[in-house]
Structure formats: C-alpha cells, structure tokens
C-alpha cells in the first residue's frame, strides 16, 4: 500500500481527479496508521466549528497527509432570509485554517425563525428565487475569497409555483455567479425516481462543464400516498448499480473528476468504505480505458 502524497500543509492543493471519502472520527486512527492511497477527504464544515480539542488535532494530522474538501451543510443558501453572517465568518475561518482544495454547499435551505432545522429542504425555482440564490452565492464567494461549488439537491416534493427546470436553474446560477457545481449523481437518481423524470435526460441537460466534484451515496426506499416508489437520500448504504451506471456515463462524457463516496449514517468499518472508494477509481479507470479505445467522448444516452 503506497503512502499518500504529502502536500505542503498550508498550500491548498486542488483535489485530484480521484476518489475520496467522507472523514469519520471512528476511522481516523486506521487512516493515520495505514495512510491509504486516496485522493482526498471531505469534512462537513459544521463538525469542525468547535473552538479546539481533539477534532482539530486529528484533522490537522489528516490535512498534513491529504487534500481536503470542505462541505457545508448549514449555510441555508436556498433561503429567502439573509445569510447568517456569523456562520459565514466561521466558514471563512475554517477555510483559511485548513486551506481546502474546494468548498461546496447545497441548493437548499435549513434555517428559519423556528431555528436550525438540520435538514436540506427544497425551494421553488422561479426568477425571484434564482435572484436570491445568486445573491447568496455571490456573498459566499466574496466572504471566502474563492469559487464555491453548488450541489444539486435530492427532493421528495416539488413546488406548484416553479417555472424553471432544475437544470436550467442550476445552470443559470453557475453562469451568473461563476460558481462551480457539485454533481451528486445519487441525488439525480433519487429526484428522477421521486418525480418521474428520466435521469439520463437530466444529465444531458446538466451543465457538466461547470462540475468540479461528484458525490455518490446509498439511498433508502419508501412509498408515497399514491403508492409510488420514493427514494430517500439516506447516505446509509453502498452505492447502487443504477448510480454506478449513471456515474460511468458522466465520466465518459466529462472525463475523470474528484469523486466522493458519502456514507454518513450506519457508518461501516473502514475497509468497507475504502472498498467503495476503490470501486470509484476502478470505474473511472474502466471508462478512461474504453474512451481511449473508442477515441472519443460519448454523449450520455
């Protein structure tokens, strides 16, 4: 097992076009002991907003060995309310300290008068909401002094008042703000199943040129009032075959990209998660090999 490349700790290396995994406290001892060859680790920013202590000590040790991806879950970019300036300042301080290869957040909202709701909630897609989200993305990029990536959501409901398709909405945000995109392929399948659209058509319409990272995760299944299958973005299980299939199509079209396996609930033992990361690299290598034989990039179909 080869040691990971050790970057200079205070220079932000771009994430390599390889696999990464979400960093879980219960895995850190094994990671520091084995130093597995992985492209990067991703952290949820809010988990490292404590003042000090073991979480930061251990993250420093990881950061000395690997590039980091900083993934926010609590900024509430998709809310009509102004962004929380204190939270934005905490994010900026964290980014300054750990110099992540990239910062990403969600097209969703999570804060309200009721308090912080701790879930990624959906918003309607209209000219009004588009202007608000773009304004928020501009503020984030200004505060962090860097380009951010915005992640496509998984949703269980849509809004009567929406007038813009999700792919057009996301594409317009990227165009207006210059932000990059995080394409969560599992979210595409979840939303496609939940709302009865074609995941491949969604990917064809998605502005892939702006994508800087991919997420893959497992999901759970339920039924709605009418008996339709509903997929729940649970991050609690292995990546499914249909998601692997969509992923290979994205890589065939776009080329290799930093790709994260998200497994946040019912977290498995480290070797299981590492195997999932290895599957990502194998899938990327397989597509690249086919691509060089075929000599061209394929449309997604």
């Amino acid at each position: 097992m080869s040691a990971a490349q050790a970057p200079s700790p205070r220079v932000a290396p771009a994430l390599p076009d390889r696999s990464g995994v979400g960093l879980k406290p219960e895995h850190i001892d094994e990671i520091l002991r084995d130093r597995p060859a992985l492209g990067f680790f991703e952290i949820h920013a809010e988990n490292y907003m404590g003042a000090g202590g073991p979480p930061h000590r251990r993250l420093e040790a990881i950061r000395a060995l690997y590039p980091l991806s900083l993934h926010g879950v609590g900024l509430s970019i998709g809310s009509p309310r102004p962004l929380d300036r204190e939270h934005l300042a905490r994010l900026a301080a964290l980014a300054a300290r750990y110099q992540p290869g990239l910062f990403s957040e969600h097209l969703a909202w999570s804060s309200h008068d009721e308090g912080y709701l701790n879930d990624l909630l959906p918003l309607p897609y209209t000219q009004e909401t588009l202007a608000t989200v773009c304004d928020h993305v501009d503020q984030v990029q200004d505060a962090l002094g860097r380009r951010m990536l915005l992640e496509n959501p998984s949703t269980y409901v849509v809004f009567q008042e929406s007038t813009i398709s999700e792919t057009d909405f996301i594409g317009e945000i990227a165009t207006r703000t210059g932000c990059g995109l995080l394409l969560d392929v599992s979210n595409v399948l979840v939303s496609a199943t939940n709302h009865g659209f074609d995941a491949l058509a969604y990917l064809d319409e998605f502005p892939l040129d702006h994508v800087g990272e991919i997420h893959l995760a497992g999901f759970a299944e339920a039924r709605d009032d009418a008996g339709h299958l509903v997929l729940i973005d649970a991050h609690d299980s292995p990546v499914r075959e249909r998601v692997w299939d969509l992923y290979r199509r994205v890589i065939a079209r776009r080329g290799p990209l930093p790709t994260l396996v998200e497994w946040d609930n019912d977290v498995p033992k480290w070797p299981v998660l590492l195997d999932e990361a290895r599957r990502v690299e194998a899938a990327m290598a397989e597509v690249v090999a086919m691509d060089s034989q075929g000599g061209r990039r394929h449309a997604i179909q």
């Binding site: 009509p80 309200h112 209209t126 009004e128 409901v157 809004f159 008042e161």
Partner: protein, 251 residues
C-alpha cells in the same frame, strides 16, 4: 406566492405534525402528499435525536434505548437548535431531563447527563497551555495570597447530590457496569489540558475553593471562604494545577 411565504408555510407544516402538507408542494400526482412531506419531518427529528444520543451515551445506557429515544424525541420537539453548529446542540438537555415527568424517579439521571455535557464541552474547548506546578513554585511565597488564576477554557465544575461522576465512570466502555461504592454526592472537575478529557471527583471543600478561584477571587480570599477544618489550600491548588484546570496565574 412570494418566496418567503412559501418557505414560511413549509416551515410551519414541518414544525407541526398535525398540519397537512403545504398545498404549494406536490408529488407525482401533482398534489400535496402527506407521506412525502413526512420524510422531511422525520429527517429533522431523527437527525436531532441522533445528535442527542451521541452526546449522552451514558444516560442512554442507564435508561435503555427506547426510553431514551422517547425522552430525546420530546426534547427535540420543543428545543430546536439555534445554530447550524450541531456540536453545540443539546447542552440544555440535562435541564429537560430534570423536568421530564416519566424520569422523575431517576433523580441522578440529569446530573449524569450534566457530566456528559461538560465532557463534550471540554472536548471542543479552545486550546490553552495548562499551568505547571513549577510556575507556582517560582512565585514569591509572601505574595501567594494575592495570586489570581485564569482557568483553562475546558475546565468545568459540577456539584451533584448523587455520585454522578462514579456512575458516569462505571458506564464507560463495553464492559460490565460498575455501581458506585458509596451513594453520596460528588463535586466534579472536568478538564482537558491536552488531547484527553479527564473527569475527577474533588475532595471535600474543593468545589467551593475552585469555584472561588474560577470566579477570580485571590488565593487568600478563596481560602478564607472555606469553612472547613483542616482544609489545606496548597494541596487543593496543586491538585487543580495537576488536573490541568488552570492555565495562567497573575501576581
């Protein structure tokens, strides 16, 4: 409908399980769908309950998974996080336990949870160099009574009418539960001078002494406040320093 009103309606329905799903939302049948909306309600509740479970593993072990989940569910229904920094969420859960009717007979439970909360707060506290005994030894003995101390950011003092720290210690790890040798109140000091959180039981008089020092009283004043025969401030002070409770002295 304006954006803010749509989100208001969504948030109101999310907060109240008796409300129907918002009419602005729809599933595949192009109408509001209760089961779909319930996924969001469930995500909020389950994720917050999980945060409480992670913060209070000993309290959970003391009452069992089902009782604890019920208690945590009741808490999260009335205590939404004020911040997206969930590692700070649930600090007031021990107070909720103290007033939770079904747990009334478990009089020690809230205090054991207070030990757990102090542990988590110490774990995430700011870094600071702990004071050394050598630094104290270097002080001119005639000025000792005027010394004041800055406590380490992680240091927490607790007072319980129950053996809360012993119960907490007896439920660490996977092994067999060890009951406290003696059922009596404990004064507790939680520190994290380096990477590791430590939980100690203070000797008699130690709580009032440490509390006086922590609130800024000079050493001489803290000593004279202790109404306790044979109280030795020197050994208590060295005990606090060795525990990593103090970060600085001021002459």
């Amino acid at each position: 409908m304006p954006f803010s009103e749509t989100i208001e309606a969504f948030a109101r329905a999310l907060a109240d399980p008796d409300r129907p799903p918002p009419i602005e939302t729809m599933g595949r049948e192009r109408q509001a769908d209760a089961r779909r909306f319930a996924i969001y309600r469930n995500n909020v509740a389950v994720s917050l309950i999980a945060a409480i479970e992670a913060r209070y593993p000993v309290a959970r072990r003391l009452v069992g998974d089902a009782f604890f989940r019920g208690m945590a569910r009741a808490f999260v229904a009335v205590a939404r996080p004020r911040s997206a920094v969930i590692l700070g969420y649930g600090a007031d859960f021990p107070d909720f336990i103290a007033g939770f009717e079904p747990a009334r007979d478990l009089t020690y439970l809230a205090d054991v949870a207070r030990v757990e909360n102090a542990w988590v707060e110490a774990y995430h506290s700011a870094e600071a160099e702990p004071l050394t005994v050598a630094a104290l030894a270097a002080v001119d003995p005639t000025t000792l009574g005027d010394l004041t101390f800055a406590f380490h950011p992680a240091a927490r003092l607790l007072r319980s009418n129950h053996p809360a720290a012993s119960i907490w210690a007896g439920h660490q790890g996977e092994g067999e539960v060890k009951a406290p040798d003696d059922w009596r109140g404990e004064d507790i000091l939680v520190t994290r001078p380096g990477a590791d959180v430590r939980v100690r039981i203070l000797p008699a008089g130690g709580y009032s002494f440490a509390q006086a020092l922590q609130s800024g009283a000079p050493l001489g004043e803290a000593h004279s406040a202790i109404d306790f025969e044979g109280f030795d401030p020197g050994s208590h002070l060295i005990g606090l320093i060795e525990a990593g409770a103090i970060s600085q002295l001021r002459a």
